[in-house]
Amino acid sequence: MRKHLKRGRVVLAAISVVALAALGLAGSAQAKLTGEFTKFQFCPYTKAEVRRCIYSPTTGGEVKLGKKVVPIEKEVVLQGGYGEEAETGTEAGFAKFYEATNGVTLSKAAQNVPGGLAGIVPEASSPPLVKALIKFFFENKITGLTSTLELAKPASEIRVSEIHLAEEIGVALKMPVKVHLENPFLGKSCYVGSSSSPINWNLTVGTTAPPKPNEPIKGTGGVTEFFEEGQILKLKGAELVDNAWSAPAPSGCGGILSFLVNPIISSQLGATTAGNNTAKLKNDIWESPALAVKINNEEHP
């Protein structure tokens, strides 16, 4: 009987140890960021190479591609981390970017294209085959068209320059992107830009120097605010701009009819060579040292 009791105690003790260990593990897994640090929840701050975390929601502005202007009405977030700035070479002054831990470095938000499908594939001026097909979409009022900005290359291809951001001169953010045009008629693979031929944005908060017909435009670094006793800074109301970029012709639009549809969209967009396009991104830029984020996380198990 005594033996049974002893064995029972041992089993209980073992169960308790396992339970405590499980709680401990759960505790460390649930370590969480607090206050404004929560913005950096997907920053890869545990990576030794990551020096700073960034969270930048774009809530306004526009992208003008040739003759088409798409206002940014839905929030697009750029988040992740970046390392030390290169001191020499062609990338001097720029830091390598590290992707967000949830894989969403640049969030996808489908923006409405004014004029919809009719504005980009007009029924009247389309070839008979396209006209016959598109008629179905117009009759069924499936005419909405959206444009989604996506990264054209891995996040590691993004570059950040803190100095240029702080001093409002030169390129602050280099980002290879592509534009995904979406409508049932266009299919799922209608893009302007690709991983092999991306749209290379060289965004500045200073003044651009585009080729004609575009004129120089000025961005702004916004107003600096500090949070968490100076561990986090926010550039409120920043505007990153670039109007010197070029875009390749659209591709993959219209499924099997892409050989017919691509040229129609291309002609509707007009010239998309450098000097004909503009990106204006109105955003807030939140930054913090990766170490500060890491410590905040560790302090709140």
Partner: protein, 206 residues
């Protein structure tokens, strides 16, 4: 007769109004004076701020020692100056995570001039450029050089012999300092004391 009187009265009022305008514009260009006499030639005034702070929204940087050296003269009836030195020492921030590694004025000298706004005299310093390198591995500005640029207007007090820089003096003189893309606020009270030919003489501006 009545019409003549009215015309005369109007004429007198017009003359008075014009003289008021001229005296106003004359007082808009004040000059440096020592012991009640307009400064002739050049003089050097220098000193250290009684207190001074620079605020980016949410982060104040204070320097225990904020010195300046200003060469002044009257040119064309207007007080002018050239700020040739502005050393800053022992600077700290309001954040326990951020320190000031280096701070210094760049692109000296800074031109300055006197101005009168609403019967008050101001000194306006132009082309200010101060570089502040912050440090601290947990500081969001760690390793970043913030450059404070722009112009600064300070209220001159003939009685206290000081120049006071604050939001009101910046607003009155329509001057502004910027840093990190935003507006920077600078507050400071500086004594105005001659250190060459007019040592220990009262410096006034009028």
């Amino acid at each position: 007769m009545n019409r003549k009187v009215r015309t005369l009265v109007r004429g007198v009022f017009l003359a008075l109004a014009l003289s008021a305008v001229f005296s106003a514009s004359a007082s808009a260009a004040p000059s440096w004076n020592f012991a009640g006499k307009a400064l002739e030639g050049k003089e050097t005034i220098m000193g250290g701020a009684f207190e001074s702070g620079l605020t980016l929204p949410g982060l104040t940087t204070k320097c225990e020692n904020f010195l300046y050296k200003l060469t002044i003269e009257n040119s064309g009836g207007t007080g002018k100056g050239s700020l040739t030195e502005m050393p800053l020492y022992n600077c700290t921030t309001s954040s326990k995570f951020c320190t000031v590694k280096t701070i210094g004025a760049e692109a000296l000298p800074y031109a300055s001039h006197l101005s009168t706004v609403s019967a008050s005299n101001y000194i306006v310093i132009e082309g200010v450029k101060v570089a502040i390198l912050y440090a601290g591995e947990l500081c969001s500005l760690g390793g970043t050089t913030a450059r404070v640029t722009g112009s600064a207007g300070g209220l001159l007090d003939n009685v206290a012999e000081t120049a006071t820089f604050n939001a009101a003096s910046f607003s009155a003189t329509k001057t502004e300092l910027k840093a990190l893309g935003g507006k920077a606020e600078w507050t400071g009270v500086f004594p105005t004391e001659a250190f060459e030919w007019h040592r220990e003489q009262a410096l006034t501006v009028s």
